[in-house]
């Protein structure tokens, strides 16, 4: 609606959705006999009250930025890539292969190579569903979700049978060489005199994620490819009329999407675990969907939503640690946020739209009245 100011659309509506989700969460917490105020306190101090908390919050956010951007860019081409989970897992394999292949002398050399490895593996994993969609019309939602399971199985096989060092019980690769260890936020900030928690996993990848947001924004709104991609996303028949090839757009959009999801691995695999373990993605691929929905597929929105979900993750962990609120309830809170900001967006939007419409009409009537 043109009568609704832009800030209402991008700020007020998500904010209201969020508040409703939190209010209902509070009611649930009350219902199980806990104090919601204390719970909020604990979540905020746990996630944002110390550099340790921030270190975790932003570490999770980094994961979600990559997977959120992956979903967002596919959304712009009207494709629902729910295979971020599998693409990130296979991306992890790519990062591991690069890190283990060579005794890297310094992380500054290893990082670009690992990024390339993660991106290529992730993109390759998205390429098959994309090709099936473009050429055979197999629905991308179905194929990408199936590829998540295949990815898990592939990873399982590779870790158990190939990458696991002899004699190790754990289905995980060996530790990456020292030269691949990324600088943590502590190491980055110490030289300039800022004290940052030593144990938090936040590392240099966060900055790469921020740069990725900017690059994705440029790609979508400033390049020919982005133009074609959005055109295809809005109307396939019109895109064909303009001579934009649907096959090309589907392939390119999914390759970029898969590459972004795969890039997440430099944060969790290379930056944090420093080896490849089973289930390293931990659902970040799915959170990316919620992040993209809440961020309205805009890179800046994705950035903010990723931080919110990082906060929920870290705050939730603290909550589970210090109170008798069960871990499952944290998932409920996260689900409520997803539900209200993503699926039930219209529930909040419609009344607000109607309100602004009524205001608009009243203003018009006044103007008409004063004109006479």
């Amino acid at each position: 609606m043109d009568v609704m100011p832009r800030w209402v659309d991008v700020v007020l509506v998500p904010l209201l959705s969020l508040i409703i989700a939190f209010v209902i969460s509070a009611l649930v917490i009350l219902a199980i006999g806990e104090d919601p105020i204390a719970a909020v306190n604990l979540m905020v101090t746990g996630a944002l009250g110390s550099t340790y908390g921030w270190g975790y919050t932003l570490y999770y956010a980094t994961n979600f930025i990559f997977t959120g951007l992956a979903v967002a860019i596919a959304f712009h081409a009207r494709m629902f890539n729910i295979g971020g989970e599998g693409q990130a897992a296979i991306g992890g394999l790519g990062v591991a292969v690069v890190c283990l292949a060579f005794p890297w002398p310094h992380w500054a050399l290893a990082l670009p190579a690992a990024m390339l490895g993660g991106a290529i593996f992730g993109a390759a994993w998205a390429a098959l569903p994309a090709y099936l969609q473009a050429k055979r019309g197999s629905h991308i939602v179905i194929t990408t979700i199936m590829f998540n399971f295949i990815a898990a199985a592939v990873l399982n096989y590779v870790l158990v049978n190939i990458l696991r060092p002899a004699g190790q019980m754990d289905p995980a690769s060996e530790r990456f060489p020292e030269g691949t260890n990324l600088p943590t936020m502590h190491e980055i900030l110490a030289p300039i005199g800022i004290e940052f928690s030593r144990s938090a996993p936040l590392n240099i990848t966060f900055f790469i994620a921020v740069i990725a947001c900017v690059l994705v924004w440029i790609l979508i709104w400033r390049t020919r490819l982005g133009f074609a991609l959005r055109a295809y996303g809005h109307s396939e028949p019109a895109a064909v009329y303009a001579g934009i090839s649907p096959t090309r757009i589907i392939m390119v959009a999914m390759l970029i999407s898969g590459a972004l999801a795969g890039l997440m691995a430099i944060n969790n695999v290379m930056g944090e675990a420093e080896r490849l373990v089973l289930n390293s993605v931990e659902g970040a691929g799915f959170i990316g969907i919620a992040v993209a929905l809440m961020g309205r597929s805009h890179p800046f929105g994705v950035f903010l939503a990723a931080i919110l979900f990082g906060f929920l993750y870290q705050g939730g962990a603290e909550l589970a640690l210090w109170t008798s609120i069960p871990r499952e309830l944290i998932v409920v809170i996260q689900a409520l946020v997803i539900l209200f900001t993503g699926a039930l967006d219209n529930m909040v939007r419609m009344p607000i739209e109607r309100f602004f419409l009524a205001m608009h009409r009243a203003r018009k009537a006044r103007e008409a009245g004063s004109a006479e």
């Binding site: 043109d2 390049t223 133009f227 959005r230 809005h234 019109a238 303009a242 001579g243 419409l357 009409r361």
Partner: protein, 514 residues
């Protein structure tokens, strides 16, 4: 006649959709036993008004009187009970039911179908005979022509004992002869005392068949006049609010070299149906070739193949060089590079992206153009916006705001954005489909002038339109299509609507001669 109660009287009807006031304080009296025309541009509020009368919408304000009694019409059932029947622009028929079943559908007498059908068959025969509808009750809808389907819609209303019949743009899908047949039926119904409301945007139909005509403009009823006491120019002026030129002002064409040569072009659609059958023709520089025909006879497919949207077989030469019809270079980008511009039939589906802003739509299809690039990586959106602002100025797009979404413009202004984009490329060949469909009269005049100007600049124009008037007044040569074939070519100066109408109905040259 004055002491007789009007069949329908509307008093002060108002209806708003969000910020749009679709109907503003409309009052109208339709006398029984007359044909009352309602004319107005697209978006003037005609359809909204009729939807209120038929119970689809509830008016915000106002009263409805039927045969002098105040009547509430909350839904279409109530409208039917009040004796109102409606024939929609898009028919509401079940394709694989017979005529009889369609007529009975929704008006069954009881749980068992058989008695209803038997009764209906008798009634149907009587009605069909009485009003010369010539409908076979056992024919399947999918097997009968459009004109016949329309008569089934009329029968449905009559079977439900409608005294008042509303027809919404009834001739849009008909050939001229079918339209004439329809008008004969309408006159017959009038003589039987039925009241008919005819909604249309075609002045000729109003003049031909109505007794009284009401003109709507921007949601308001601007005038109600006796048809005999008015003229097309006067009605057009009432519709638009200013004087309009109804005829197209043009000099004789001076055609040059052949620009487009089409040889044995065929198209088969996804279902395996052959839509275009060995079509051959040429278009020369400096002329407009008009393709006439009833919608759905292969014209759309012709434009799609030429524009690079669909694939086909055969041969197309542009300025003497072959054009790729099936391979890698059969897409719209290559066509544009070769100098073919295309104003598509359906601007909302093909020509524009409704959720793109005007400036993005100006670059649409030409986004790889040199002048819209900042460097090899980035587009120059500022240049594109400036170009759009300039085009909007020159092509009189209102409001001239490049940052407005395409969907916020009226049909006419949307079309002007497309026309500006395509014509301004100075193409060797312009493909135009239904250039003025859903476009207000003021914009029609403007778009027609642009097409003539392009022709006079020595370019080739291929015009496809279902509006025979448009074809007749713009074309330098006319080709008529029927069932995927070209039935014949005519000189507009030496033909008439009757002859073209016969060709449109599939009667070939030889048959006409005989």
């Amino acid at each position: 006649m004055t002491d007789q109660a009007p069949a329908i009287e509307l008093k002060g009807i108002s209806k708003a959709f969000g910020p749009v006031q679709a109907n503003k304080d409309i009052s109208i009296r339709v006398m029984p036993g007359t044909i009352h025309g309602i004319i107005g541009e697209n978006g003037a509020g005609k359809s909204t008004l009729m939807s209120i009368l038929y119970g689809f919408y509830k008016a915000d304000k106002g009263e409805i009187f039927i045969q002098g009694n105040k009547t509430e019409i909350p839904d279409s059932q109530a409208a039917i009970r009040a004796g109102i029947g409606m024939v929609f622009q898009h028919f509401k028929l079940v394709e694989n039911f017979s005529v009889l079943e369609n007529v009975v559908l929704g008006a069954e007498d009881g749980a068992l179908l058989k008695p209803s059908l038997a009764k209906a068959r008798f009634e149907l025969m009587r009605l069909s005979e009485e009003y010369e509808l010539n409908v076979d009750p056992d024919a399947l809808i999918e097997e009968i022509g459009v004109g016949m389907q329309q008569r089934v819609e009329i029968l449905k209303s009559l079977y439900r004992k409608a005294d008042i019949l509303i027809l919404d743009e009834p001739t849009g899908v008909l050939t001229p002869s079918e339209a004439d047949h329809l008008f004969r039926i309408l006159r017959g119904l009038k003589e039987e005392g039925k009241t008919i409301i005819l909604i249309t945007h075609k002045l000729r139909e109003i003049m031909d068949v109505t007794d009284t005509v009401s003109v709507m403009r921007r949601g308001e009823m601007t005038a109600t006049v006796k048809t005999a006491e008015t003229s097309p120019p006067q009605l057009a002026e009432l519709m638009v609010g200013r004087k309009v030129l109804l005829s197209v002002d043009k000099q004789p064409a001076s055609p040059g070299e052949t620009v487009l040569e089409v040889k044995n072009l065929s198209v088969t659609d996804e279902d395996g149906v052959q839509r275009l059958k060995n079509v051959s023709f040429t278009v020369r520089a400096g002329e407009i070739l008009g393709i006439a025909g009833v919608a759905g006879n292969g014209q759309s497919e012709l434009l799609e193949v030429l524009g690079g949207i669909a694939k086909g077989t055969g041969e197309i030469n542009l300025n003497g060089d072959a054009i790729d019809l099936t391979g890698k270079h059969s897409d719209g980008q290559t066509r544009r590079a070769r100098g073919i511009a295309h104003v598509p039939e359906d601007r909302q589906r093909l020509g524009l992206i409704m959720d793109f802003m005007a400036w993005e739509n100006t670059g649409f299809g030409y986004h790889n153009d040199e002048r819209y690039q900042k460097n090899s990586l980035l587009m120059d959106n500022n240049a594109l916006r400036a170009d759009t602002a300039e085009k909007m100025e020159r092509y009189d797009v209102r409001p001239p705001n490049p940052k407005l979404m395409a969907k916020s413009f009226s049909g006419g202004n949307q079309q002007k954005i497309v026309v500006a984009r395509e014509i301004d490329r100075n193409p060797d060949l312009l493909l135009v489909g239904q250039p003025t469909r859903g476009v207000d009269i003021g914009a029609i005049e403007f778009i027609h002038k642009q097409l003539i100007a392009l022709r006079d600049a020595g370019k080739a124009v291929l015009l496809v339109s279902v509006e025979l008037d448009e074809i007749m007044s713009l074309s330098d040569r006319i080709a008529v299509m029927f069932d995927g074939q070209i039935m014949g070519e005519r000189d507009p100066g030496e033909t008439n609507e009757t002859e073209l109408g016969l060709l449109m109905a599939g009667v070939t040259d030889t048959e006409t001669a005989a």
